[in-house]
Symmetry: C2
Subunit: 281 residues, 2 copies
């Protein structure tokens, strides 16, 4: 397994792999791996000849006052964790090589990026689509893997790939959870013991609402109220949003009559966690 | 030579060509070919194994009130003209396949697109970069060919390719001119006989200013005045802009102390023509 920082060297390696007729799988990450990432690596390993993981804390997807500086970084730990999944290459670029002075090109998916996390984090998805397209162009993967925890990100990237005719298969894998069902996230590390104890209320709320939905409740307001009621059981939780949107355009619905995403973002202190469940009709 | 409208069929053909280890050249056009296009085709023919020309009048690069509807179209004529240059495939997609309902992804190069034609035609370059990136993803060319007449377009595309790490060589070919030095353009066809007679004043103005520059004049205002003075010799010409910008960021300069572009856009009635010369220090 090789760690490559240099862009020309990455391109050369990838070109050679492609010329040998091998398939390439890409798992883009911001590092500080957890079992969610490892499940992506395992899937990618089993489906491709050559496995690339990128580790890049992408500055342009963080807003002012967000946690870009504090975001946890530990290459040695990531290297060891990914070894067991048979990663062939870790691409670990420097910010100045990804965004040299005068960098000025951005990819924007309109519509889908204006609700949910896009409303709370203006510019976030523009940063995500831009860096992911750059990674696709650099690695030219046959398949790329993302987690369902970032449901909006997955839908936005699928839309970008479709609209821009990018030749890659996006594969979305289920959210991996802690034993108490908190969704795995590199940001869980920020939580105080008290916050950590309360954070599973997010998923419990989503699950309770999904239960109501399965029992026949179709009114979005009622379903969202149930989520909020349960999360309010936490002293420290501050709800950013609880929303129900259809899965094509991510627009809020009043009644759940088509496949919808029930998604929540909740702050514990300065730590912002997200989670979601699907409501399938 | 094959005309392909269908996107899946194009991708299949291109994939086969690539698998054979052949190099692919792409000449993106809006059709209604003139000798400028033919010079691009000839260059692409001599440098690549497989030559694709696209013909697509791209709606999203036209603003409201511009000439999208009227833009000249003549596939049969284009087919015959390109035959002599040994084109292997004409990609001639339909608007509804390039921009299906709900299309919402755009590529934007900031900074470079705010001056010159970008100021007069808001959204124009966003449409250009978006369609060209789509064509690159669909055709996966090794080399793509554009004309220097659209100098800003060439620089914007170079910036996009560099910033987004697109794996293609952009090749910019000199402007081809009529015997009286009017730059070749599909839009020349719109000109009345009187306008056609006066249109070469654009280039004459640019050339006279360049002569002044070569004689030592460095003041941008003086050089632009010379261009305007000469173009004003036409009764019908209405100057949109005459500008001198440096060639990295396309920002206006007061003194020409580095490589600059002297560019003009002039309207004859509703026909807008552009042209440019380089000022090399």
């Amino acid at each position: 397994m090789e760690i490559v920082r240099d862009i020309p060297k990455l391109k050369e390696t990838v070109k050679k792999v492609r010329a040998e007729g091998k398939s390439i799988g890409l798992v883009p990450t911001m590092g500080y791996l957890h079992e969610g990432h490892l499940s992506l690596l395992q899937a990618a390993r089993s489906e491709n000849d050559f496995l690339v993981m990128s580790i890049f804390v992408n500055p342009i997807q963080f807003g002012a006052g967000e946690d870009y500086e504090e975001y946890p970084r530990d290459l040695e730990r990531d290297r060891e964790l990914s070894l067991s999944d048979g990663c062939d290459l870790i691409f670990y670029p420097e910010v100045r090589d990804m965004y040299p002075e005068g960098y000025s090109t951005f990819v924007e998916v309109e519509g889908l990026t204006e609700t949910l996390c896009g409303a709370s984090r203006p510019g976030h998805f523009r940063g995500v689509t831009t860096v992911v397209l750059k990674l696709f162009n650099l690695v030219s993967p046959h398949r790329a893997y993302f987690g369902q925890k970032d449901a909006q990100q997955a839908l936005v990237l699928k839309k970008m790939v479709e609209d821009l005719n990018v030749d890659v298969d996006l594969i979305i894998k289920p959210t991996v959870r802690e034993p108490d069902c908190l969704a795995m996230s590199s940001r869980n590390k920020y939580l105080t013991p008290e916050q950590r104890k309360e954070a599973p209320l997010i998923y419990r709320g989503l699950e309770e609402a999904r239960k109501l939905f399965r029992e026949g409740e179709r009114d979005a307001e009622q379903l969202k109220l149930k989520v909020k009621e349960i999360i309010s059981g936490s002293e420290e939780a501050l709800i950013d949003y609880v929303e129900i949107v259809e899965t094509r355009g991510l627009q809020p619905v009043k009644e759940v009559r088509q496949e919808c995403l029930l998604a929540a973002a909740v702050k514990f202190g300065s730590t912002r966690l997200i989670d979601n469940v699907m409501l399938e009709v």
